[in-house]
Subunit: 429 residues, 2 copies
């Protein structure tokens, strides 16, 4: 089925919501279109770890038979496989959890169902949302990584298998794959999407986030978790004030990363936005190392059971992280927490009068090969600061592959970030 | 078996560790002593929701057959039934989870096993660590509540069924039952005991805590989670500097609560501690209401699945909390988070030169009846500030029942709090 010459699977979530409301098509037709796209493309992309077409269609039929449940009525969503689903296995990207069936949905999954979403299936996660990838390839070039750890969610949305998916970000696991796959990634303020039913990785960093192809869709989905307004606000009187923040890693950045960030700064200035340079105080540079200490120690503690009982099933890469965590002196961990807390209290001042910061998102295009999901540092600093951040698919690198930019908002100022994201992305579409 | 005329079940964890190390008795003898005490007293106290004597003894025998595993080698610990155990059912205090077997141990449970502890059994929790109590009675007077929500853990430790137990505190769920039952309760800094495998209640408040009969035992247990030193430090040069903080609820406080706090202030001053009055800025009074908003909204989100699928199995009391949470405007929740974050950044100044604050812990003795676990407000304000806090069994009320005092430390300054707690409690023993 096509609508205005576009196959249904290409529609955005907002277009699907609108079309279902106007009875131009039904939830079953939408789910069927997504399933057909998956059937055609999954052998190349490998985005899904669990997909039961009959169960997905049954959900859609049940929605058709009942009243409109909420703003996501009939919209398919993919769920990263570290989030519990009561009706699908939840494998955590690890053989240790093969076939595991949780007793309940994660909070975010239950809220999606309450809003009428169809839980289409479970998407590939790197092992325990870490750095050891699963089978997923980059849909733009299957010889390259899609990024991780939310590999399947980003690839599935980028490849039009599903309009929306959930991911999680402890370092850069939502924004990096979104950038590599050329879609919109959104990591809200820490804790904004409730984490009950998430397999914890590093609990003072873990944040549930979203993958979509438009900023409007991000806002639509976000509303299901927070009860907040369903479409991003607009900068009607004047454009957003943008702080250009190159960060400490600028000298190491690939040319295409510099081009993307400086190109975006020029584009928003041309469109009337006030752009100022924002330099983070030196203390923020120490956060790079502190984030790694926190990550290692908290992961080692969170996986204490798996470490004791299933060590042979833990990858070498993860085992090294856990060993680092186990041998970190307790005071180093507390010092790292203290530093992060101090800097979280200071970052608001660094924004000055800016509404959002414009920063590099990834260092270059997606790397070749599927064994490494890329460098998390450019995303991780903002995760550690608990700030909302999003990747926007604005640029391409030397091989024509996506290179996103990153916008960062103030804590709890997620809606302003979404509004700014919409404004910026509109300059490119 | 008795040691120096004391039955084994009366020994502290530190004494057990010492006795096992010197081969005065074995882990099996310790577990057997605890099981015998439980057999005698459980019909009155009702502290346990799952207890399999054979499995407990098997753990002890396995420890005896192997090398010393760690500082808790052979020490029995009770686990609140909202913490996952891979070898015992985990019921969350709710019929919804009857018979549920988690796939893994919670982080804290796995770390206990790694340190050599015997996981004796699961203790009664109020429904989802909230306000609807289970079967447990106060061991000092079975017509009274033991407090909650860590009811079984506090009662079991107070009644010499087990030397140590884990609880969780979202409002006052560790310190209140500890105070009502006349033992030492310890809620460390937010996040200090990793929460992976805890059934989330309100995730920005939930803190795993400890119940013990001595401060030394609290420190011994705490070391297993943090890798930090095993015994509390000492104030050798000079006594701790104590800030007497009556809080905004002083006018409402029962006479025995005022007597306990003022009596303790006088006692520490007599013993040489510098005592200053600390008055919290008025802004902190608003935290009382903000804490409730955060609690309601986060609980409603965390239990979204249970609400949709098992509403008939949710108690009236909890249903009211969830309904309040569901109808809270999103901005009110964010405003409450913002207030809590602002005050967390300010509380350090309120300490001035004090090492710890001395504050009321509970409003009077344990209330009569088993249907209400008592008022969480005096504990909850410090939980919302993420500060480490402990209850010390220093006083008694008009009916001879325990009325504890509360000591509060600065964030991450848990060891100083433990040292101060030992110093203060030594004045009463």
């Amino acid at each position: 089925m096509v609508v205005e010459d576009r196959p249904l699977y290409e529609l955005s979530a907002s277009e699907i919501a609108d079309g279902i409301a106007r009875r131009r098509f039904t939830p079953v037709e939408i789910v069927r279109a997504c399933l057909e796209r998956i059937a055609a493309r999954e052998p190349v992309v490998g985005a899904w770890v669990h997909l039961d077409p009959d169960h997905a269609l049954a959900q859609a039929r049940a929605l058709e038979a009942g009243p409109v449940r909420g703003p996501l009525h009939g919209i398919p969503v993919g769920i990263k496989d570290v989030l519990d689903t009561h009706d699908m296995p939840t494998g955590m990207g690890s053989p240790i959890y093969g076939g595991y069936r949780p007793p309940a949905d994660a909070s975010c999954v239950a809220m999606l169902r309450g809003a009428g979403a169809v839980i289409l299936g479970k998407t590939v996660s790197a092992e325990f949302a870490g750095m050891t990838p699963g089978k997923t390839a980059n849909p733009h070039d299957p010889s390259r990584t899609p990024g991780g750890s939310s590999s399947g969610s980003a690839a599935a949305v980028a490849d039009f298998m599903v309009p929306l998916a959930l991911g999680t970000q402890t370092g850069g696991s939502v924004l990096r794959p979104s950038s590599y796959c050329g879609i919109v990634g959104f990591k809200p303020s820490f804790g904004a999407i409730n984490r009950a039913g998430l397999k914890m990785a590093a609990e003072s960093l873990d944040t549930i986030g979203q993958h979509a192809r438009t900023v409007e869709d991000v806002a639509l989905l976000y509303g299901a978790f927070t009860g907040a307004r369903k479409s991003p606000g607009r900068f009607t009187d004047s454009p957003p004030r943008v702080g250009l923040c190159r960060t400490f890693m600028w000298d190491e950045a690939a040319p295409e990363t510099k081009d993307a960030v400086e190109g975006a700064a020029a584009a928003v200035a041309t469109a009337g936005a006030e752009v100022t340079e924002v330099e983070l105080p030196r203390a923020f540079e120490e956060l790079m190392a502190a984030r790694i200490v926190i990550n290692n120690v908290e992961r080692a503690r969170a996986l204490a059971f798996e470490w004791h009982h299933h060590r042979a099933l833990i990858s070498e890469t993860l085992a090294e992280v856990l060993e680092q965590g186990l041998k970190t002196p307790p005071d180093d961990y507390v010092d790292a927490l203290r530093l992060a807390e101090r800097l979280r209290a200071r970052i608001d001042d660094a924004f000055g009068a800016c509404d959002v910061l414009l920063a590099p998102c990834v260092n270059g295009e997606a790397p070749t090969g599927l064994s490494w999901t890329g460098d998390p540092r450019l995303q991780g600093i903002w995760t550690a600061l608990h700030l909302p951040a999003m990747s926007l698919p604005t640029h391409a690198g030397p091989n024509g592959l996506p290179v996103g930019i990153q916008l960062v908002g103030r804590l709890h100022d997620d809606h302003r970030l979404l509004a700014a994201g919409r404004w910026v992305l509109s300059l490119y579409r």
